[in-house]
Chain length 209, copies 2
DNA sequence: TAGATTGTTAATCGATTAACAATC
DNA sequence: TAGATTGTTAATCGATTAACAATC
């Protein structure tokens, strides 16, 4: 959890700072960032000092300076290429979105049986092409949006072809391994969790009254 | 984090136990569950003992007994109804999935301009219908799958109509409030994070060689 | 019995926060 | 200077783990 949370925070700092900047601001205080991320100002300062991001004891932090440092830390590694395996509705939804601002670009979709040759200017290939494509383009990260029944073998394939990171949208929980990090986005679990918390909150407010 | 993580673990226990059961097993050991969830066996026992879920010092835990207890804890509250606001590709993808096994059901989709009257037997309504629908059906949880530009006002509406939990798929980070829990699923952030971790792992292996 | 697994205590570990001196 | 904010230390807090006695 630790390292992952910290890095997610750095990415969030970056996004918030870019927003502030686009609003015309030059400097921020630790408590501005704390408010935006819903964390304490102390934690912001701690994070920054951990990475030698320095501010001014009166004037807070220079947005540009912090952004520069964050880009170096997060690897301002240009536009990264990713692929999507599984071009049903979910895959198409992801293909339709423009992620370029977020630092990556979906360059191809794969499906056992693509319903169309391209979508949003991104080519859709049959699954057989995945291996040569990944090898040729040195793809490091991919998205799985196939049905649960195909998820395991899809992941297997992707790992075999050398993919190092997978975002898995299938309901099947996949395990990370040494050679490949897998993040599971389990929509059902999230909803179930929301219901639980909502019910909790209700119980609590009933107790009070 | 604390409570939320614990509850997510309980849900994962439940899912894994259901799988084990469907495989014909009767009993499990703490280390089976630990392996499945990628946590330590000690944590499993701790969680169980915290909720007075008892096992047998030699024979592990009875799957049925644990499941019974988990259902009571998690609120085996029948099939819950949820709605989706935003029926573009992502919304359609979610509408197409059958979540009944996961304990809830999407009963309606809403869009400023629905492209079709129904999908997967679920009616799609224009946004004006959202308010009466939510009130009449006592909807507690909803999904936001609208573009970033519409996300904030969509959430505002939903909260006003009395929705208590939102799963937000738009790239705009929304804040939870007292009256309504919001979970953000930020795909861009997840991918960015994967790239970071992949690069980290690479660096580390380069250092070793 | 011998062996294995639970249940629980105490130890560890790490993340977060409080608080305040340094300083702009 | 007076006031405000950083940078950092020490304290807190809570989650996780190690370890082992209890016991099936």
């Amino acid at each position: 959890m630790e390292q992952k949370d910290l890095m997610l925070r750095l990415m969030k700092y970056k996004r918030v700072l870019l927003q502030f900047k686009s609003l015309g601001l030059d400097r921020v205080y630790s408590n501005n960032l704390g408010d935006a991320l819903e964390i304490s100002a102390a934690l912001v300062r701690k994070d920054f000092s951990h990475f030698k991001i320095e501010g001014n004891r009166r004037g807070g932090y220079s947005i540009n300076k912090v952004l520069g440092r964050l880009n170096r830390l997060l690897g301002d590694s240009g536009l990264q290429e990713i692929v999507i395996v599984g071009c049903g509705n979910l895959g198409k939804a992801l293909l339709n979105h423009d992620y370029i601002r977020e630092g990556f670009r979906i360059t191809a979709g794969f499906d056992i049986n693509p319903s169309q040759p391209e979508l949003n200017n991104i080519p859709l290939y049959p699954l057989e092409i995945l291996k040569p494509y990944v090898l040729e383009h040195h793809i490091q990260v991919g998205i799985i949006s196939v049905p649960a029944s195909a998820a395991m073998q899809t992941a297997e394939m992707m790992v075999n072809y050398g993919i190092k990171g997978i975002l898995n949208f299938s309901p099947l929980q996949l395990k990370s391994r040494e050679e490949c990090r897998i993040h599971n986005v389990n929509i059902g679990l999230e909803i179930e969790n929301l219901f639980f918390m909502v019910n909790q909150a209700e119980k609590k407010s009933n107790e009070l009254s």
